[in-house]
């Protein structure tokens, strides 16, 4: 899940790699209250990437490179 004003742009960048097991979701002002996993994750000014699996999320990161590491790690 990606929060911040650049969330869609970041998702598009991440989607340039084939990752069949990943579903990307942008966190917007509207989605904040609707998806239970993102209930306390606000869409701030900074791009914030949450890599979640099995109902839990790892500590957020702020760059694509860090997110890639979490995904391949």
């Amino acid at each position: 899940m990606v929060a911040g004003p650049q969330s869609l742009k970041t998702i598009r960048e991440m989607q340039k790699k084939y990752r069949p097991d990943v579903v990307w979701a942008p966190i917007t002002d509207e989605s904040e209250n609707k998806i239970s996993l993102v209930q306390d994750r606000k869409s701030g000014e900074r791009t914030t990437i949450y890599i979640c699996s099995g109902g839990t999320c790892q500590l957020p990161v702020h760059t694509i490179r860090e997110a890639e590491k979490l995904l391949t790690g």
């Binding site: 340039k16 790699k17 084939y18 990752r19 069949p20």
Partner: protein, 294 residues
């Protein structure tokens, strides 16, 4: 028949049904009162299922359903019902299951004959006019002379359809995913055409679900053979006549084994899945033609 003759389909909204509204066959839409009519008149029902983009549905309509002799026989002995499978996928699914249980190759047009109470006992797809008439004559003879046998056969088929819609697991344990994947590969990979892609022989279907599965498997367990087969298939399909090189989009299948001669209709469900497949394959194989496949 006057030139302005129309049957009950004239009141329908489906383009496929309206295409048959001027047939001399007295088609009825799939409705409760029509099913009641067959029961009351003790007539066999002929259920003919298709969709508007289906090539052989139109060939059969033109050869048989627009023919006064065939129509006369159908009207005399059957309550004839036309179904648009895009409007009634449930009805289509029921009769397709029936036909498959009869051991007959399914497809469209799907023509099924049922007893007056709606239980199917015979089915098939496209027939040229003479064969179609011959089949109908035989069925009506059987119905007159050996109705008990037909009823017994229809009853057994109906039981089979009911059972096939109940999903049961023979074992309690969850099957092992690796063995399911290996079994699927063992069954499928011997058919791979490593020269032209797709399955060996003709006709050649794009089968996007199979290819997406293989791409996904290759992501987790890369193998040279998977990569080769995917690349050969995707690039041959993109260069072949199955892909509309001018207007875009893929035809349902190619009639030959070189992806060369397309079979007419372009299905939305194939094209949607093929766009996804080529989009996913592009970052993996970096073939510059893939982004244009739409």
């Amino acid at each position: 028949m006057t030139p302005l003759h129309s049957n009950q389909l004239i009141h329908e909204s489906s383009p496929y049904l309206i295409q048959h509204a001027r047939n001399p066959v007295e088609w009825h839409p799939w409705k409760e009162e029509v099913l009641d009519m067959a029961r009351k008149e003790d007539k066999l029902m002929l259920v003919s299922i298709g969709y508007s983009a289906c090539h052989w549905c139109h060939v059969m309509a033109h050869e048989s359903f627009e023919d006064p002799e065939v129509a006369g026989f159908m009207n005399e002995h059957f309550v004839c019902i036309k179904v648009d499978r895009e409007e009634r996928p449930d009805v289509d699914h029921f009769f397709m299951t029936a036909v498959q249980l009869m051991g007959v190759q399914g497809g469209w047009p799907l023509n099924v004959v049922t007893l007056p109470d709606g239980q199917p006992f015979w089915g098939g797809t496209y027939f040229p006019k003479d064969q179609w008439l011959e089949v109908l004559i035989k069925i009506t003879q059987l119905f007159r002379q050996e109705r008990d046998k037909l009823t017994h056969h229809a009853h057994r088929l109906t039981l089979g359809i009911q059972q096939s819609s109940v999903i049961t697991s023979e074992k309690d344990e969850i099957p092992d995913a690796t063995s399911i994947i290996n079994d699927a590969l063992d069954a499928w990979s011997p058919q791979w055409d490593m020269n032209r892609g797709g399955s060996r022989g003709k006709p050649k279907f794009p089968m996007p679900v199979n290819l997406s599965f293989l791409l996904h498997l290759h992501y987790h367990h890369p193998r040279q053979a998977f990569e080769d087969f995917l690349q050969i298939t995707l690039s041959h399909m993109s260069r072949g006549g199955i892909y509309d090189q001018i207007g875009g989009g893929f035809a349902r299948y190619s009639v030959d084994e070189q992806w060369k001669v397309p079979h007419f209709e372009k299905m939305l469900y194939d094209n949607a899945q093929l766009i996804e497949l080529y989009s996913h394959a592009y970052p993996v194989f970096r073939n510059e033609k893939y982004p244009d496949m739409r």
